[in-house]
Symmetry: C2
Subunit: 514 residues, 2 copies
């Protein structure tokens, strides 16, 4: 069968199940009930404290074949997942499915446990580095990786598409009953939006902390009613690595040129006025756009209502400068601002469901005026890829891009037309991650294009003397310089499945022929 | 059949269902899943704002025979329930079950709608005044009232014993998507712990506000993922009536005498040391106990960890004086301290589930060192009544008493031995609300008694030269002065059912023969 972005899909994939093809961004309306949740019981005087992760795993009842979950707020500094998987391995448990909000460089060590059969399945919003390369090339993981958006992940948990047997939550501050927050302690990372849904639906929830606080914790992000066990560990990881280079403002002149063009488009949109809302993905160019927007806002005394998403240090600066009323934060991108949630009453934490879940009673992503996104590729049909490279290998993340693209009034892609002689504007993206109907404008250093269905945007840009071009012409212009990369060859083995946020399938990723 | 507190119960009650008899405070361990929750869907650009309560009721799909829920944080000032029921009546909807966290004097007007058949069933933690009297005497309500504790109410919702079709939440501050808090705006009441479970399990949730704030609200107690519709009304009620006389410190000399005796018992307990936790019910004597405890704490430089429960102005004073680390608040008792949750970072809000739910992964009530309670009656078996008077009429509330009594290390009843020539110490309470196994000490102006199973407490008190007496002797001493009130006569009609917090039945209340 062929889905709405023209991808040919099998009816069924072993290790995944039957496939529902993507049918458009809001085509699926969920029916029926959310996943069932087990009832609990807790005596007065009972304790949740266990001495070791191994004890917690044994007590949790984790068995081979089960699913465990993690969150990636500690980013490149995360030491939680590896400690838990090590302990699982020691106990002789195998065939485990890891469902994590994402994988980072901190998780390369998991590859070893894939090789030894401890981990046989992964669900995530992204995967990079050596592990991604090995899975893409050798198909070493027995089951295909299921890639979900941040909103799609919590939707899947709530809908029961994923049943978490044991959720592990890294808690930078935690008391003996499991009341916790993410913004106090040696491994403070800030907002802890991702596990908020896990703890509601997992059969067993284990909190790991390196900072046990007196009961009850004063500032609670996830409360004791959701936690089964608390384990004090030496460390949750390396807080210095929570800040990632991907969140610093660019000084690269061509990125700044591109950002300036994007800012001009946004200014022309007429959306940048008092009370506007805004989100930008990670990456230097997106941040540079913020810099130019700031200038415009200051010159014209404009104050935005909210900026959302992963929150970086620059957005905290904008908040503290009074340029936005509020930051709504699912994940703080930078360890240096981990305390901002505490320090700034206007910097608030939200769950991943409040951020981006397409099947709840409303999410922030659906209230955005402007979303700025980057990509690894965008094609002449406006389909976007941010997960794989043009070599076909997994090397990125879906994140919240498809969620916010679907929700925002203007979704603006800001990408260079080529990178290192590779065209970013392509005939057909290697894999579709954000579907074309949800992408409105493409700003590149070689031209600006508007989705054919957004005549309103074309009119606005032209009225503001911003030249636009047909994306097919841009493609020709780019590939004249870069040439057309040769087609990638794949084996039949499916190594990844790209789910749209509503649980339908956008694309499948096959093993590369090497 | 006869339950563990010796009450004869029918197997089945029409309008309630099959009865599970009370079997002890922790005899019931829940099995299976929590109640199912419907999936949802919300488009970008969709609005939740409806113009009138009637519109919201129509849009919600409310029909005759359904269940609606309310919370009573606005106490005697609540104008929400009556506005909603008026609108329901206007729409010709009948046979409605109201499940509210409690009924107050503000709800007397509901009697009219009982008479007209709009309201045919009530579930609550308490009922007073004219409506209670009329139901007790005439049996005017077609179905028996189900009385539940604050913990038992959320347990019942989570377990699916109660299915809420439409929950109405009074929101003193609210934005267009339903992000809300209880501590900002003209009708600010403070913590909003009761509806937190309702909004998770109700099919439809309607927020009513008289203070629509820009989106998104900065300080969120219940977030938009749980709210279907928002209606702006002229007023949520009368904020001046949120403060209730029941929460002021007594100046009555005999109450102070009693309070002093209770404080001496607590001091002797050895529990009053750094890090102790504490809760006291409403009522002048309980508050007076706090005053004496404060003196002792100040003299001995003792700082408690937390005080919990309904939080009154005096506890805020203790917090601000540094005598407790933290206040954990499900319901702020006094409008004058509605902003304390905001002003004091150590005054935090908790859900009713975190407060007292016996079937979750732990609650604050189970972590209490000391609980001080009042009662309308206590009998020679230590069973306690706080719901009905010795005349058999409903006139009080269960509240969180059975929850905290079950959880606290020492549960201390502080009551006068008689009130207006009526014995408070009786042979057999009119109705059992808090079962004897969960009550440890009884302090009266005519003597102190200890539950026979708490030899440890007897030893401690005697070692501290605090005289104790057998409760049967106290009973004789009291009734020598008061005489023994004549037995109440009842009809066969059941007007109320007293559920224990675990969903079993403690007692049934029959219509009084008049």
């Amino acid at each position: 069968m062929i889905n709405k972005v023209g991808i040919e899909l099998p009816e069924h994939i072993e290790g995944y199940g039957d496939i529902i093809p993507y049918q458009g961004p809001f085509a699926i309306k969920p029916v029926g009930d959310k996943a069932p949740v087990k009832q609990s019981f807790f005596f007065p005087g009972q304790t949740k404290l266990l001495s070791t992760i191994e004890d917690a795993i044994k007590t949790s009842g984790l068995k081979s074949g089960m699913t465990i979950s993690f969150h990636h707020h500690l980013r490149d500094g995360d030491g939680v997942m590896i400690q838990v998987v090590e302990a699982i391995s020691k106990l002789g448990i195998k065939d485990i499915h890891i469902n994590s909000s994402s994988f980072t460089n901190a998780h390369e060590g998991i590859l070893e446990y894939i090789k030894s059969g401890v981990i046989t399945k992964i669900s995530t919003s992204g995967l990079r580095g050596k592990m991604a390369e090995e899975i893409s090339k050798t198909g070493i993981l027995p089951h295909p990786i299921v890639f979900r958006t941040h909103g799609g992940r919590v939707r899947a948990i709530e809908a029961g598409d994923v049943k978490i047997d044991v959720a592990f939550v890294g808690a930078p501050a935690c008391d003996k009953m499991g009341n916790m927050n993410g913004h106090e302690g040696p491994c403070a990372f800030g907002a802890m939006g991702y596990p908020m849904t896990d703890v509601c639906y997992a059969n067993v929830v284990v909190a790991l902390t390196d900072n046990l606080q007196p009961y009850p914790l004063k500032d609670i992000s996830i409360d004791q009613t959701h936690i089964d066990y608390v384990v004090v560990v030496e460390s949750l990881g390396d807080p210095a690595k929570i800040a990632s280079g991907a969140t610093r403002i660019s000084t690269n002149p061509s990125e700044l040129f591109l950002a300036k063009k994007a800012a001009n488009v946004l200014i022309a949109s007429g959306l940048i006025q008092n009370g506007f809302s805004f989100q930008a993905g990670a990456g230097g160019a997106a941040l540079a756009v913020c810099r130019y927007l700031r200038e415009y806002m200051e010159e014209n005394s404009i104050k935005g209502s909210f900026a959302s998403g992963g929150i970086n240090a620059y957005l905290v600066e904008l908040l503290e400068a009074g340029l936005f009323d509020i930051l709504v934060d699912v994940q703080t991108f930078d360890g240096t601002i981990a305390d901002s949630v505490k320090r700034n009453p206007n910097h608030i934490e939200m769950s991943a469901s409040m951020y981006a879940n397409p099947h709840n009673k409303s999410c922030i992503a659906h209230e955005l005026d402007i979303m700025i996104l980057s990509a690894t590729e965008i094609d002449v049909n406006f389909n976007v890829n941010s997960l794989t490279g043009s070599h076909g290998m997994i090397m990125g993340a879906i994140g919240g891009a498809p969620d916010t693209a679907a929700g925002a009034k203007w979704t603006v892609m800001v990408v260079p037309a080529m990178r290192k002689r590779l065209p970013i504007i392509v005939d057909k993206v290697t894999h579709v991650v954000t579907p074309n109907e949800t992408v409105d404008v493409l700003v590149t250093d070689m031209g600006i294009c508007v989705h054919p269905q957004r005549q309103d945007i074309k009119d606005i840009l032209l009225a503001n003397n911003i030249p636009i071009m047909d994306i097919k012409d841009l493609y020709k212009k780019v590939t004249k310089l870069t040439g057309i990369p040769k087609k990638i060859e794949y084996t039949d083995k499916i190594v990844g499945i790209v789910e749209y946020r509503d649980g339908t399938v956008l694309d499948i990723i096959r093993q590369i022929k090497t």
